[in-house]
């Protein structure tokens, strides 16, 4: 790995200052993506701004209506949070399925969202629940946040501070994981709330997306059977060494049914 200058600010403002002083800086959260990428030489930053010493970024606050998760909260902390599990168990389940235990002990929700890997798990929950991404500058709705593969609405030097998830009546996630990396080959997060049904799909396309046909069918009948015969076109889905676009389209249907069954309390994919 090419060497770099290392900065460990203790406030968001100081982090922005450090970033702006660098020719080609990056922010470091848990490092579970950026460090492997730097080891491959695919990123060669001149300086790294470590966000781990900034206070208050690893807090979980749960109220009756909102689950608020600080950007530096690890996946392991979300998975183990009794408060999150009590009001939004589907979100705790999702966090417990990310990567593996070691990745969950380091990786953070802010790092995952800022990276927007097409096969990451969190984007499905953020979009399906209609969460709000709060940065040092503004609030960004889930609809606006995810732009394209590895691309978000974040400006250069903008830092996520927390994510606010509205609590839903029912919410669950099901994914078909790559057996080596545990990334989602296809992952489906389904939400039923007072405002209706929302489904978001990760892993299958260039970026997370919603499935309106499925949402409409589940809005009338929230059961796995209601999804019978509804297909997602393979056009535009990802095709790689792990799965063809057609296979991913098929998996979306299966994972959507499992997610609905899990949301209805009938078990589901773990």
């Amino acid at each position: 790995m090419q060497d770099f200058s290392y900065h460990k600010p203790t406030s968001l403002d100081a982090a922005v200052d450090a970033f702006e002083s660098l020719e080609d800086g990056i922010f470091l959260a848990g490092g579970q993506t950026i460090l492997p990428v730097m080891k491959f030489g695919l990123a060669q930053p001149s300086g790294v701004v470590d966000l781990s010493a900034i206070g208050g970024l690893a807090k979980i606050d749960v109220s009756g209506t909102t689950v608020s998760i600080g950007a530096m909260t690890t996946h392991a902390a979300v998975a183990a949070s009794k408060d999150v599990r009590r009001v939004l168990p589907g979100l705790a389940d999702l966090a417990g399925l990310i990567g593996d235990p070691q990745v969950r002990n380091r990786g953070t929700i802010g790092g995952s969202l800022a990276n927007n890997d097409p096969a990451a798990d969190y984007p499905a929950a953020v979009l399906a629940l209609g969460a709000m991404v709060i940065t040092n500058k503004r609030q960004i709705s889930a609809e606006d946040f995810f732009v394209d593969m590895f691309e978000t609405a974040l400006d250069d030097g903008e830092i996520i501070s927390r994510v606010d998830f509205p609590v839903a009546t029912q919410a669950a996630y099901a994914k078909f994981a790559n057996p080596a990396s545990r990334y989602a080959v296809a992952g489906v997060f389904v939400v039923k709330s007072g405002e209706g049904v929302r489904i978001a799909i990760t892993g299958a396309g260039p970026s997370v997306f919603r499935a309106q046909d499925m949402e409409a069918a589940l809005g009338k009948d929230f059961s796995a059977a209601a999804l019978e015969g509804i297909t997602i076109p393979a056009d535009g889905l990802n095709a790689d060494m792990h799965a063809s676009a057609e296979y991913r389209a098929h998996l979306i249907g299966i994972m959507a049914k499992r997610a609905v069954e899990a949301a209805n309390g009938n078990g589901g994919e773990k």
Binding site: M1, Q2, D3, F4, S5, Y6, K8, L28, G31, Q32, L35, P36, M38, K39, V48, D50, S52, A76, G99, D100, P101, Q102, V103, N105, R106, A180, S181, R182, K270
Partner: protein, 155 residues
């Protein structure tokens, strides 16, 4: 160069390190603790797992500077002076290793699992070991060893 201070197996360590130094490089090359293995070097295999403040992490995917101020435990720090700990003993008795390359990482991961969940199911053990790859055993005997160790530790 950044200066870091940490403890490794209860011994205080202070070093000036290049920012790019990985935790596993500090442990193996500087401290000479070669039980944490570099297998894939891409954060998949888990041969390099150590515990940082009690949490198993892949030391090939963490910078040494990120371990500043932490308490690091490696495989060299887990055995009693007179032999093996219950998990190591169970791996021995249940033929939970063949070549042994993955074993240090397995021990560091499974010991944290047993600390947090003293009576795990087979499924919980398999889920907990997803980040540790073994190419010899097929996992069956490793899982049996962890189940047996859990029983021994519970007493």
């Amino acid at each position: 160069m950044p200066k870091i201070t940490l403890t490794v197996n209860s011994e205080p360590v202070t070093r000036d390190v290049e920012a790019r130094t990985l935790l596993v490089e500090l442990i193996r090359e500087d401290l000479g603790l070669t039980g944490a293995h570099i297998g894939c070097d891409t954060s998949q295999c888990g041969a390099c797992v150590v515990q940082v403040d009690g949490a198993p992490v892949k030391s090939c995917s963490m910078l040494a500077v990120q371990a500043d101020g932490t308490d690091v435990l490696t495989i060299e720090g887990v055995s009693p002076e007179d032999g093996l700990n219950p998990l190591q003993q169970a791996l021995h008795e249940h033929h939970g290793l063949q070549c042994g390359f993955c074993t240090p990482g397995m021990v560091m991961t499974a010991s944290a699992l047993l600390r947090d969940n003293p009576d795990p199911t087979e499924q919980e053990i398999r889920h907990g070991l997803e980040g540790n790859i073994c190419r010899c055993t097929g996992y069956q005997n490793i899982v049996e060893a962890v189940l047996a160790a859990a029983k021994t530790i519970r007493g």
